[in-house]
Symmetry: C2
Subunit: 271 residues, 2 copies
């Protein structure tokens, strides 16, 4: 690989990850060269926004690109890399942005391969502060790592080297820290909607719960009836949920888990 | 009840609720008169902080107090009110701060009774911005409501009248919006600890998940493998959790619920 420094970056994929990463990289001085997406409108809109060329044909990507980022579904990564290699117009550095796909899925096709995984939830409805988003990189060589680090530090203050095995565990923990809490917000909203109470009433509570984390172990921040062993309140709650069996089940199983952790926590305090 | 305006407030209880409310009320110009707690040190420390008199004897509370706030465990509220009434030195306005205890638990003992429920998670490790905390009031008369509203607007910009039945549902939704997400943060931290990854890596993700709520329905903000129907990733996650059956169970049940809601959401889109 002749590249000593990344200048031109292309994207395969124009979904939530690409629409946040590409503009951040353009803002950091990289040139966004090509945007490939199977959906022409998505490719075009991101290309317009970043001064790039849009295409629904991955064959457009050639060696004017120094780094190709694959921001496409996990299942598509291996096949995409294999097809691109066969097309033969691009031989540069390739990295995927997935939390779960191992590096090997692309390193078996490309000589210079890596992972560029931003640990954040990306939605078209919000724009997280990219400089604070941890970027987890993994590379098949010291040279590739240096190049990925150059791009990562361009957009983020928190760059970490994490291998495929640890990244899978990190991704799992992110499901517990983000996807599942968001689903609980959905349930909380639904309970309020049924009661005719404005859902905005929960926002300060939700924000405080997330913001107070940091120096303190969340185990010590646990509040509520389960951790207090307040069975009367828990019985009342179960009664209120009796017509909604799957939400009732979630209530039970999370309350039991809180009590299990608390028991363990107290035991540790004593020993 | 002769009181036309609240000047002096006393507290029964010196736990997490009282240690946040009493200073806020002192800061809003109310005089904090007595702090009762069965734990002398707790009563004294909060009394010192708010220029009040501490006691482990509830009999200290007399008619120099205009409003007595009960920030004590739910189960203790009825008995405390009954005992105080029998002691006969206090006949003023009494309100509890519980999310689940009905107004009737105190209104059967006192002529002027209400509820003053701040919807927030209070921990000794953090101080939420009180002016943004919704204060839910309920009263046995228009006169009592006016007095409680005077105190509530003194400390918060968000005061709402919510009756006992709706407050119980609100409290239930708060368990889903706060207690359960915090427990999931505990599980996420544990997964990272086992992997030897610094837990601070999750903070931007947790904060973004909570902060992006507001104008957008959380149902539209759902991300992750379950909502995408990415069975391969979910299988990998279940495999990583196979030695931790109760966490595995939480993963399964929340993922199923996400998929159930998503199915319903898609059906609604079409119809």
């Amino acid at each position: 690989m002749a590249v000593k420094k990344i200048r031109n970056i292309s994207f395969a994929g124009a979904g939530n990850v690409a629409i946040h990463l590409a503009p951040a990289m353009a803002g950091a001085g990289f040139r966004i060269r090509h945007i490939f997406s199977r959906t022409a409108a998505h490719a075009q809109s991101l290309a317009d926004f970043t001064g790039s060329i849009a295409s629904t044909d991955p064959g457009i990507i050639d060696d004017t690109t120094d780094l190709l980022l694959l921001a496409i579904p996990d299942q598509a990564i291996g096949e995409f890399a294999s097809g691109l290699k066969k097309a033969g117009r691009y031989n540069g550095l390739i990295a995927h942005t997935s939390g779960t796909c191992p590096l090997s899925a692309i390193s078996e096709h490309f000589g210079a391969a890596g992972v560029f995984y931003p640990l954040q939830t990306f939605s078209r409805f919000s724009t997280p502060e990219i400089r604070k988003v941890p970027v987890c990189i993994e590379a098949d060589s010291v040279e590739t790592e240096t190049l990925l680090r150059q791009v990562a530090t361009g957009i983020s203050d928190d760059v970490r080297v994490i291998d495929s095995e640890h990244r899978a565990l990190l991704h799992l923990s992110a499901v517990f820290a983000c996807n599942f809490p968001n689903h609980l917000y959905v349930i909380a909203s639904r309970i309020l909607k049924q009661a005719g109470i404005g859902e905005d009433i929960l926002l300060p509570l939700i924000r405080e719960t997330a913001l107070r984390l940091g120096d303190t172990d969340p185990l010590l921040l646990q509040t509520g009836p389960a951790v207090r062993g307040d069975l009367t309140t828990m019985q009342r709650h179960l009664h209120l949920l009796e017509d909604q069996p799957s939400i009732l089940q979630i209530y039970k199983i999370l309350s039991e888990s809180i009590q299990e952790f608390e028991k363990y926590n107290k035991t540790s305090d004593i020993s």
